[in-house]
């Protein structure tokens, strides 16, 4: 059954249809939230709450954006609240560490190159913690979800240009904090 049909049935009160949507969306949603809050427990709570809120407000969903995009918007608000509540920008490195299975990651055939890549990934992971939530969200939505800036803008309720600017500023922030000199780089 297509997502559209599932959505329609869910909007008519079918929990089974909604369950199918949860099953289809939760891996990506979890990945997104985990990158935002960088804590497995927190991420799981937020994903759960996102689906609960989505269900309760399903009648508001109008098909203009994809369902997962709508979920991202809900989750993003929850992530921001959680981060604000915790009053921290988590620096934990225990989640989503480089080296975990990256489904979209191109693998290098050169072992030394792969090692270097891993070092860069570790450093990038560390530096991501310094980004503002919106900046991080933009990056994740752009690269993990492959969303356009216009789509990202809709989720963050900002303009396309502002979304693009957030990615630019995120990268600028990373460069500002990047000391350079990865050991494995020749």
């Amino acid at each position: 059954m297509t997502n559209d049909k599932l959505l329609k049935e869910a909007q008519n009160g079918s929990m089974d249809a909604f369950a199918s949507l949860v099953g289809a969306c939760q891996p990506r949603l979890y990945a997104f939230v985990l990158k935002m809050v960088r804590s497995r427990e927190e991420a799981e709570e937020i994903v759960q709450e996102t689906f609960i809120r989505a269900y309760k407000n399903l009648w508001r969903y109008d098909n203009r954006a994809s369902f997962i995009t709508w979920l991202y918007a809900i989750a993003l608000n929850l992530c921001k609240s959680a981060l604000k509540k915790l009053k921290r920008m988590p620096l934990s490195l225990d989640d989503a560490m480089p080296g975990n299975k990256a489904s979209h990651e191109a693998q290098s055939m050169d072992p030394s190159e792969h090692l270097a890549d891993l070092e860069y990934r570790k450093e990038a992971h560390r530096l991501m913690a310094f980004l503002k939530p919106d900046q991080r969200a933009c990056l994740v939505l752009k690269y993990m979800e492959g969303l356009s800036y216009a789509q990202i803008g809709r989720i963050l309720r900002i303009s396309e240009e502002a979304a693009k600017m957030k990615v630019y500023r995120a990268k600028k922030e990373i460069l500002k904090r990047f000391p350079g000199g990865i050991n494995h780089v020749l």
Partner: protein, 495 residues
């Protein structure tokens, strides 16, 4: 060229945005600069890091099911409703709260004294205007039962009119025409009085009205006529009858609106004991000072809220509001467009104000915000002064279960039919308004201010209360109102 200067190129390089020429310049540099090479690598790694999926997966479905099983199936969408009012140009948020009080306190006596059946007809459950839209099957905690007539807070009205040599039918025809456009008041002759049409208004009585205040007894039938005519969105003529006789006729503009109309009498309706009284008073020349006096009159008596501190939350980048349309009155944050600022104002409810809904009764303070498009904007006036642009969001009174055709804006007319939207605060009506602040009056008091302006006005009724969130975004003179819609869309998270 220093390494720092290459950073923009590096960022754009990782976005694939460089021209061939720029790319060659950068790549030449990367060959000789390890530091910049590292920067490219770290940004590439950043993209991969953002892209990577976590190795572990979760299954929240059982807990989601469990949580949702607690909800009963009940009607889903909030009941659509309209509202009353718009933000006035000269007044600050305090007045916007005050407006509700005025509305509430004026109508209460009327409704409680002999107009109860009319009230039921207008606002009761059986009102033909009541509509329920959307899904009624989904379990939504925001679902509310059918709205019952408010028990403690009632809207009220005052009435303005002017006399003309035009016939009633002509006025009626004209009013339909001008309903969609701001009427040039001066185009309706008011310099002559058709005494034959108004047997109760003699020269002496008019003078009495002009110089003093005169009260007229009005019975329930008269009120019915008034109500019938009031419940329309456009400036309309009305006829006041007294004991079956035609008393006079005029044109209703808006509750509270004639205060800015020079040389037009102001008619208010009040209850004193068992008698409903129409009070007619003369306004002074430009209307502006009359407005001040008018406001003062009400400020002294009725307040929904008092502003307790205008500097509580200066220049925030997100608005914090209690969402009264959630079961537990959750605090929500509404982001401002980038580069915007908000100055928060906290309000304390006055003793005379009572919430209708039980869940809201512990709310003692409210917030309103002035929105600034420019950090340097000093004043809270917002419609193009100094070439700036800003707005406000506040709570405002509205007529409960009052459909769109009954919307009445003070000094404003819808440019087109409103659009119903969903926001994070609830169901909203979005209006494009053309606002007229009475050019002559405004030109005198505010010579540098454009006499008219357009405004995006979004109203989100609070279910069960006679209040609504109202977002006003005036559009600077000469600008296209549609260009400003995205700001409202972003602030209220319109879908």
């Amino acid at each position: 060229m220093s390494c720092k200067a290459y950073e923009p190129l590096i960022i754009r390089y990782t976005e694939g945005e460089l021209s061939l020429k720029e790319q060659k310049v950068l790549e030449d540099h990367l060959r000789v600069c390890k530091h910049c090479f590292d920067k490219v690598q770290i940004l590439m790694a950043l993209a991969k890091e953002a892209e990577a999926m976590p190795s572990e997966q979760i299954d929240v479905l059982p807990r989601v099911r469990e949580s949702l099983s607690a909800y009963d199936k009940s009607p889903g969408k909030p009941i659509s409703r309209a509202f009353l009012g718009r933000s006035s140009r000269l007044v600050k948020p305090a007045f916007l709260f005050l407006s509700l009080a005025i509305l509430c306190l004026f109508l209460w006596p009327l409704l409680s004294k002999g107009a109860a059946s009319l009230f039921q007809q207008r606002f009761g459950e059986g009102s033909p205007h009541q509509t329920v839209t959307g899904s009624e099957m989904l379990p939504t905690p925001e679902s509310k039962p059918a709205v019952t007539p408010p028990a403690t807070v009632q809207p009220g009205f005052s009435l303005s009119f002017y006399r003309s040599t035009m016939t009633y039918e002509e006025i009626l025809s004209l009013s339909r025409e001008i309903g969609r456009r701001t009427p040039p008041y001066s185009s309706i002759p008011i310099d002559r009085i058709a005494l034959e049409e108004e047997p109760f208004l003699t020269d002496s009585s008019i003078n009495a009205f002009v110089t003093n205040t005169q009260q007229i007894k009005v019975d329930a039938e008269t009120l019915d006529v008034l109500f019938t005519e009031l419940m329309d969105t456009r400036p309309i003529p009305f006829v006041v009858t007294l004991s079956g006789e035609r008393l006079f006729w005029g044109v209703f503009i808006h509750p509270l609106s004639s205060i800015a109309a020079p040389d037009l009498p102001l008619l208010t309706i009040r209850s004193e004991g068992d008698v409903q009284r129409l009070t007619l008073s003369k306004l002074d020349k430009a209307g502006a000072s009359a407005e001040k006096a008018f406001l003062k009159f009400f400020e002294d008596r009725y307040k929904l809220a008092i502003q307790i501190n205008s500097e509580v939350l200066p220049y925030m980048e997100a608005l914090q509001l209690v969402n009264f349309n959630t079961p537990d009155n959750k605090m929500v944050e509404l982001p401002l467009p980038e580069g915007w600022y908000a100055q928060g104002q906290e309000y304390e409810l006055s003793g005379g104000f009572t919430w209708n809904r039980e869940k809201n009764k512990n709310i003692k303070k409210l917030r309103a915000y002035t929105l600034y498009f420019d950090e340097k904007l000093e004043d809270t006036y917002y419609w193009g002064i100094k070439g700036q642009f800003s707005g406000e969001i506040h709570l405002q009174g509205f007529y409960n279960e009052y459909p769109y055709p009954g919307l009445s804006f003070n000094h404003a007319k819808p440019l087109e039919d409103p659009v119903k939207k969903q926001t994070f605060l609830g169901e909203a009506w979005v209006y494009y308004l053309e606002c007229d602040n009475y050019p002559a009056a405004m030109a005198e008091e505010y010579p540098d201010t454009p006499p008219t302006f357009d405004m995006i006005f979004v109203v989100i009724p609070i279910e069960g209360e006679n209040l609504a969130y109202a977002l006003s975004l005036p559009v600077p003179e000469g600008m296209d109102i549609r260009d400003f819609y995205p700001y409202a869309e972003q602030i209220l998270m319109l879908n």
